[in-house]
């Protein structure tokens, strides 16, 4: 079993880093090439959502990402917002809503549970390299 974890300060530039890592790790895990764009986009949406939640609630904690490939390629993005405090930033809600709509349309195996987004994609085992 292989695990890659990424954790980053809640800043937009690291969402790009997360997308980069998502695609690289997914490719090595054996996710089909024509799914890689979806994987990048979904990772971006999940991490963008997490960053926005940290920024909105002024949380210093790092956004956490975990990728595993025992079985399907599975990604878990976790933010530190526990649902407390005021959450009546309409702008934020609209953006969250858009991100969640994209995720739902993009990812067949998706669970969004508060501060945790879980998603997975099938892998075809590489029989041999080159």
């Amino acid at each position: 079993m292989s695990t890659v974890r990424l954790a980053f300060s809640a800043a937009p530039q690291y969402v790009r880093t997360a997308r980069l890592v998502a695609a690289a790790v997914a490719r090595r895990a054996g996710v089909a090439d024509d799914l890689l764009h979806d994987v990048r986009l979904a990772m971006g949406e999940a991490c963008g959502r997490a960053v926005a939640r940290h920024q909105r609630h002024e949380l210093d904690a790092l956004v956490q990402v975990e990728m595993t490939d025992d079985g399907p390629y599975t990604v878990r993005v976790t933010d530190a917002y526990d649902g407390g405090g005021s959450d009546n930033d309409d702008d934020g809600d609209a953006a969250d809503q858009m991100a969640e709509t994209v995720l739902a349309g993009l990812v067949d195996d998706l669970t969004v549970d508060g501060g945790e987004v879980r998603m997975s994609w099938p892998v075809r085992r590489r029989l041999a390299w080159r």
């Binding site: 937009p12 969402v15 790009r16 986009l41 960053v51 858009m98 991100a99 709509t101 994209v102 993009l106």
Partner: protein, 115 residues
Amino acid sequence: MELSLTTREIAGHEVVHVRGEVDVYTSSVLRERLIELIDGGARSVVVDLTQVDFLDSSGLGVLVGALKRLRTTEGDLSLVITSDKLLKIFKITALDRVFALHDTVEAATRVPRTG
């Protein structure tokens, strides 16, 4: 990786050519340019996304925001999109039915100015 924007006027339309990735990191730059154009009096804005290889929900949000702003002044926003990858995210969010989508800048600027 980064975003680059070029604007030119074609037959009464303001055409914004976008190149790069429109995402949480760069969408604010596109937002500011569009607001600038609209506040400057543009009524028909065409956003050319043919050179964009990545667009996420924050990019969609910027486009929706610009459309709303234009509609308060009877203005119009249309998009030029050729890639299936980009089209997919518009379809997922049903925004393909909200925006006027075109295959080429020519087609987008040929459309008569409404309102």
